[in-house]
Symmetry: C2
Subunit: 224 residues, 2 copies
């Protein structure tokens, strides 16, 4: 198996993460780099979704990925092998989230001079990552069908901070009691402006809509 | 819908959580109360599993449940309605875990004088709850089939601290690439002594084995 760069992330020393995140966002904007912060529960299909999406977009956009995990390098290796794009692994050393300074450490290691779209796959966790602005241009999340449509009721902050909610694993809808309409209603209770896109990363269904959303976002970001 | 007691948990002031947890564990032992700390990702089926299990055990053991959630009271109400046992809701106010002092606040509100088995349904999160000893007699967790069998590789601490791992949603095994043998092997890499029980909370399959495990545990605890 081909190796990837692995970065051991250090704890931040900055006290004002919000300010630091705003600074990072502006730096990225001036460099023409759009950063997507992708969050979800463990096992919702972040890596599979990214592989599908990157393979649809890699001829249109220059993409690079940071895979954050407490341990293990499997995700960064998977992305690199399945898409051929630049992919590095960030080890959080037990930490349950990334903040702006930690994200900056990752971006420095990733080297983004030739990148249009950088994607941060955050730690699998519906609670803590929502509390820390990473400096990303946008926050997105994946909720998978087996997790249940009630999650926006139980993890309000995560759904409030996300501009895009992907509902993944729609192929198993027949086997679970999951109501997409009700879920969308709950998402909009938390964030009325959130875009909701049902997808199936396994079969590819709906992933083109996510890819289109990203192309528009990157385009708008670069021309603002 | 019938209401339940809702406790707003306050942040702990104790500095040494491990010592506080050991004290709580000994207090519970002297009172003959066995406390199970049940952890998992969001949507893995903790509440459904508890309902099945409690209905198998409620004539043998006096059971009470604390449902921890950042927001919402749906789980405590569900447990109360489906089993008739004593059930309260703990609101963590955004906090991603419970420690011993927070658990003690819950136990005080639950009133455990007439309880053999108290169950804490922890916040849905595979990262932070593993870092804090709640003072429970034992830690257990649920990993559901749709989350994938690689989770012990990615969330090492959670699997290290659990004495029991329930693999839930076995009814959807045909639709997911989940290898129970491989998962058990990964669990044992983290904790060689962990008991692994595949269950399906929806159909009830395997839940009797979890119930037997609990009866033995409570019995041993009371006679030590």
């Amino acid at each position: 198996m081909d190796g990837v760069k692995v970065i051991e992330i250090k704890k931040s020393v900055f006290e004002d993460n919000n300010k630091d995140a705003d600074n990072l966002r502006e730096e990225l904007r001036s460099k023409g780099v759009y950063l997507l912060n992708l969050m979800s529960s463990p096992g919702s299909g972040k890596t599979t979704t990214l592989i599908r999406t990157i393979n649809l977009l890699k001829d249109k956009l220059r993409i690079a990925v940071m895979e954050a995990d407490i341990d293990s390098d499997v995700d960064a290796i998977k992305i690199k092998e399945a898409t051929g794009i630049k992919s590095i692994q960030l080890h959080t050393g037990g930490m349950c989230h990334l903040d702006a300074e930690m994200t900056r450490q990752g971006l420095d290691a990733l080297e983004t001079a030739d990148v249009d779209l950088a994607i941060l796959e955050n730690v699998g966790n519906l609670v803590c990552p929502a509390e820390f602005d990473t400096g990303a241009s946008r926050n997105a999340m994946i909720l998978s069908v087996p997790e249940g449509h009630d999650k926006p009721l139980k993890y309000p902050l995560m759904f409030s901070v996300c501009d895009l909610v992907l509902i993944n694993k729609t192929d198993v809808l027949p086997y679970f009691d999951f109501d997409i309409e009700k879920c969308t209603e709950y998402v909009h209770m938390r964030n009325p402006k959130a875009t909701v896109i049902p997808i199936c990363a396994k079969t590819g269904e709906g992933v083109d809509r996510f890819a289109e959303w990203l192309v528009e976002e990157v385009d708008t970001w670069k021309n603002q």
